[in-house]
């Protein structure tokens, strides 16, 4: 649906190359693209305005002569500014010096509080070896208590509940007493979803806060939230001064501009990302990754830098020559594979490629061990076999399989796939480098 902003910027500024500096018109054209991309990512329009002004100032003043073309230069400025805006390091929960640490969960209806409560409980049990209890204070939504009993139990937390007839403030107070008595390290209080403009329920939330003096108050924000995220965050900040944010439903394809808006408007850090329906799909939030996701631009710069440092131009020419003459053997394939792998784990490499959004990426699971197996098989061959894979039959196959710790089927499959790849290369007229994607598909 969206093209990557990085690509758009480079296209917009392509003809500026060589002029040395960016004119105001160039920059304005780039700003229009940035503005549109950020709005489509649901970044609040006021934040967008401030942001484009900051980028514009830097872009106009900057010198674009250098190794990067002007498009890339602006991409870099955008990336820098965005990362700065998202906050640098990922931040941590606070823990009370006199347990239990009390964590109060708040948010709109359907933002994912109950799920986040259970996930956080599990996270703290696993990562901090804490004993955790969760308190069911959502007495309004039918069966919300049942839901917490189930998922809280799955997370290995004690679930403190008193049905739906008690008052939420009373339940919270009672749960805190019980957690202290039972020597829990952490008590997480799940509350009912409430609208930030619902005075009664917001007052109730403030009362729960007063009654339990939470160590941390977390606002759960749906990653798909639009422009309204700012209003929601401001209201919750005013009433309960929350300490941090949990972004939920980040496993979808929403760009998550809400994260940027909330951070920018309230200054509160985003602490956790909830990325799936399973309880263990919950992790510390990384601002830099979010910046890249919002722009859908991948980390082009890193990829370019890495590729430049790893690929020897001389080697590349030699390779081209071999491919043109159909001399590309298993040895060359092995060398290619090693070069690519030197760039880093393939999964993260793919993430740097613009246009490969999170969605496609997750479906394309790269099994690094598969590459280990391929390398093992090739290195178990004699030089002659590597030059001439056709001679690998019967006993050779068995020897290679044994030497590489694989099996005969795997050896056969590799040789067959390599044959297909050779044919593919022959069909390439221009003699350019085989693209990474094609290599990978063959490799699998």
């Amino acid at each position: 649906m969206f093209d990557s902003l990085a690509e758009k910027l480079q296209a917009t500024l392509a003809d500026v190359r060589g002029r040395g500096t960016l004119t105001e018109d160039d920059v304005n054209a780039a700003m229009r693209e940035i503005r549109l991309a950020l709005l489509e990512a649901d970044v609040n329009f006021k934040v967008v305005k401030r942001f484009t002004n900051a980028v514009k100032e830097r872009a106009l003043g900057s010198d674009v002569i250098g190794q990067l073309n002007p498009g890339q230069q602006v991409v870099k400025i955008v990336n820098d500014e965005l990362s700065a805006l998202m906050g640098g390091e990922s931040e941590e929960l606070k823990f009370s010096s006199s347990p239990p640490t009390v964590i109060l969960m708040a948010g709109l209806q359907g933002s994912g509080k109950t799920t986040a409560t259970a996930k956080l409980a599990r996270y703290l049990r696993e990562q901090h070896r804490s004993s955790v209890a969760v308190a069911a204070c959502d007495v309004y939504r039918p069966a919300a208590v049942d839901q917490l009993v189930t998922v809280g139990g799955q997370a290995g937390a004690d679930v403190y509940e008193r049905g739906t007839d008690a008052d939420p403030v009373a339940i919270a107070k009672w749960a805190l007493d019980r957690a202290s008595r039972e020597g829990k390290d952490v008590l997480i209080i799940d509350t009912a979803g409430r609208l930030h403009v619902d005075e009664n329920l917001m007052t109730e939330l403030a009362e729960i806060k007063r009654a339990t003096s939470p160590t941390d108050i977390l606002l759960v924000v749906d990653a798909m939230t639009g422009q309204d995220a700012v209003n929601v965050a401001e209201q919750f900040a005013e009433v309960v001064q929350f300490d941090g944010v949990v972004m939920s439903k980040l496993d979808g394809d929403a760009r998550g501009g809400a994260a940027l808006s909330v951070k920018s408007v309230t200054g509160k850090p985003i602490l956790f990302a909830s990325t799936g329906e399973k309880l263990d799909q919950f992790e510390r939030f990384h601002p830099d990754r979010m910046a890249q996701r919002i722009l859908g631009m991948g980390d082009v710069l890193t990829l370019i830098e890495k590729a430049e440092s790893q690929f020897d131009e001389q080697q590349a020419k030699e390779l081209e020559r071999k491919i043109r003459r159909s001399e590309f053997g298993l040895d060359d394939f092995l060398e290619q594979l090693r070069q690519i792998r030197r760039l880093g784990p393939l999964q993260s490499l793919l993430g740097m490629i613009p246009g490969l959004g999170g969605h496609q990426l997750r479906n394309l699971r790269v099994d690094e061990r598969e590459f280990d197996r391929i390398q093992a098989i090739i290195t178990s061959m004699t030089p002659e076999e590597r030059r001439n894979p056709e001679i690998i039959k019967g006993s050779r196959r068995i020897r290679i399989a044994r030497g590489s710790g694989t099996n005969v089927q795997a050896v056969k499959a590799l040789i067959r796939q390599f044959g297909q790849m050779q044919r593919l290369m022959k069909s390439m007229q221009s003699g350019k480098m085989p693209d990474i994607g094609a290599l990978m598909r063959q490799g699998r």
């Binding site: 609208l195 749906d222 422009q227 439903k249």
Partner: protein, 330 residues
Amino acid sequence: MARDWQDLFITRDGSSAAVQDEPQQQEKRRGFFKRLRENMRKTREALTSEISSTLFENLDEETWEKLEEALIAADVGARTTAEIVEQLEQEADRGELTGGEQLTARLTELLANVARVGDSRIDLTAGPTVLLMVGVNGTGKTTSVGKIAWHLRKELDQKVVLGAADTFRAAAVEQLEEWSRRAGVDFVKGPPDSDPGSVAYEAVAQGVRDRADVVMVDTAGRLHTQDNLMAELAKVRRVIAKQIPDAPHEILITVDATTGQNGLRQAKLFAEAVDVTGIVLTKLDGTAKGGIALAIARELGIPVKLIGIGEQLEDLRPFDPDDFAKALLS
């Protein structure tokens, strides 16, 4: 134009609309308008301060910018906003719009026109009519199914069966069961962890057996990017169609009004999987304006059929494009 439950639903006896006499209808309509306005008060305050102070002045560059920002802030989306603003600018250039008042009126008209797509009514004459509720997690599917069932039962005197095909989320079945009790309608569930298709099948079978008017099937929330779960949804639909060829007759997607531009992706992918026929725009009672519904209507041609403007039963209402446009901007 759908304004009341009798206007939204076409029922088999067809007499329900006639039961109400004119003054009562008027009264009800006023009641609704009042409620919508009250619930959207904050929204309007925010917008009014931005719009009335500028639009009623002259139509200059600043006006267009402010207008654009107001629409963007309502989640209408950059593209739809650009189109609307451009059209208004052109009309102003041609001298067709001269002051702020005219502009506001024309803007409301344009917004309502964008919202007015497809068939905005729901036909319940199939005997039984099967209604499938789909949507992303936390958008209000179960609550909407419960409330619709209540209205169909209490106001339109329909015999309703609810099928709890959300077999995934903890306690979702209990939540719907509670609604079935409140609405006084029949309820079908499977054993724990059962296949959603089999629950849907059972619910439709019971609806046919008991000669129900409406069978409503609730499904688990799923992200539109989860291919396996979207395939599961398509299967639920096929299972239903096996018993009644034209069913499900109505497939509604719940869209949370606070959703941003991703709502368009949601609607698109759900529509590709199961032919969505309408939108239930939920949680309009906050400060979110639900402008994403306009983007969905414009790009995908799927009409909003119901809106949720509060937690009470009567807060789920038939959608009206004019009221929506006014509430968005008045």
